[in-house]
Amino acid sequence: MNPAIEVASLRKTFKGRDGTSRAVLKDLDLSVGAGEFLCILGPSGCGKSTLLNVLAGLDKVYEGQARVSAGRVGYLFQEPRLLPWLTAEQNLDFALTGCKVPASRWDELKSRYLAMTGLSEYRDYYPHQISGGMAQRLALVRALCVEPGILLMDEPFSGLDEITARRIRTDLLSIWRETRKTIVFVTHNAYEACFLADRILVMLGGAFRHEMRVPIARPRSYDDPAIFELSRDLIKAFDAEIGREPVPSAIPANEPSLVDDLDRHAAARMNI
């Protein structure tokens, strides 16, 4: 079977204010199989969001190859990023219109995913009327509604309280079991990665440093001690890698806004 995502020698450099350029992604190679749940684990600033932006087509300035062959991309951001002036349902419609999903399928798609996330009753609510966890669920529904071949998720649960996050993680796994989407999930939470993923790639300083398959059978329980042990091993491996790398961050400390700047660049490039 063809891989859903293929990345070869992907390089991305940012020009600093002083004219020097810094590599944020250093010759990445990556292949994600169809239906695979891949977690990319790394500290903030390691380049994982940049990688997702390239895969999502938000960032088109890079060297090397990045090919997504499994069709449309669904994206779940760290924040829900719902349009506050639209109701829950109108927010879904906005994405469905953008992705040109035939109107005849809208009802079925919306009902299905709203039901899966327990949001069926909230179609007419505005984002400010629902909780943060519900808003993020709604964002997940929006990403699923457009029938993506691939789901990209950028630390989607890091802004939620732990109990809500746990519940949504479990929901995510059951949705994944039913739909078999290819998922690339970026996180800095080792436990989360071990609970969710088939395979974990540890990213540090713009490069993959460590690869690990998660041997735990599904369905998994969040309290499984095996997950805890695995995450401990993972953090150990991680520490070892950091020890080898004196400067673990690809993004220099004096430019913490670099990741956010990407969004700004993306908007600027629209020339509006």
Partner: protein, 246 residues
């Protein structure tokens, strides 16, 4: 309720203050209202009022047409911001009386010159408002829209406009406040009718009852516009916003 109490106490304070001076110099609210009623009954105040309203509305529209695009441009483009910054500052600094004098001297004592002077005075403040608004546009939402393949017109209409619109609304209200004041001034120096003309006319005759009657009329009209037109529009457009309970 609180609004009513506050309104009534304003009238009472006016009444008390007016007692400190003879009524022909500082008439109280009752006397002023009676004078105003007399003018209304006579009926020729409507022409002046209508002319002033025309100038205000035309001036506001032209000010928005001039001010909003410049503000949007400055918010989106760093270079435009750098170039236009100084212009806006100059525009803001020049006194409105100067604009009025220049407009009348260059374009003659006519309606277009008056409206132009009004619009040019108000435009820089509107520009600054919009400029701030556009700078605050949430680019994360734009990135979201692009991920979901929204077309450029859709992004402008559904993502950018709703963010900029509150600032347009605010600058329209704010601009209106400025424009009322300039219009009176412009009418005073260069128009043969309007509220400003009347105020000046009664001032020259030293008839303070009439001066205050016209001021009162003006204030009532302005409050009505705020309460009957602008507030309901705002409430409708921003229905999605959370109600802030204080």
């Amino acid at each position: 309720m609180l609004k009513l109490v506050s309104f009534v106490s304003a009238v009472i304070i006016w009444g008390l203050l007016s007692l400190t001076l003879p009524p022909e110099i500082f008439p109280g609210p009752i006397e002023t209202a009676r004078t105003l009623w007399g003018e209304i009954v006579k009926g020729d105040l409507w022409t002046d009022l209508a002319m002033t309203m025309l100038r205000v509305v035309a001036g506001l529209l032209l000010a928005l047409i001039l001010g909003v695009p410049v503000g949007v441009l400055m918010g989106l483009n760093r270079r435009a911001e750098a170039v236009l910054d100084v212009w806006v500052m100059i525009g803001l600094t020049v006194p409105s009386l100067c604009y009025a004098i220049m407009a009348f001297m260059w374009f003659g004592l006519n309606e277009s010159a008056a409206i132009l002077a009004i619009a040019v005075t108000a435009a820089p403040s509107i520009t600054i408002n919009i400029w701030e608004g556009v700078k605050n546009v949430d680019t994360k939402l734009v990135a979201m829209a692009r991920v979901f393949e929204a077309s450029r017109p859709a992004i402008v209409r559904r993502v950018l406009m709703p963010q900029i619109f509150p600032y347009v609304m605010a600058s329209a209200r704010f601009g209106l406040g400025i424009i009322w004041k300039i219009t009176v001034l412009v009418e005073l120096i260069g128009r043969p009718n309007g509220v400003g003309f009347k105020l000046f006319y009664w001032y020259q005759l030293a008839d303070m009852r009439q001066v205050l009657a016209w001021t009162l009329l003006f204030t009532i009209i302005m409050l009505l516009i705020e309460l009957v037109i602008l507030k309901p529009i705002e409430r409708r457009i921003f229905a999605w916003r959370p109600q802030v309970a204080v």
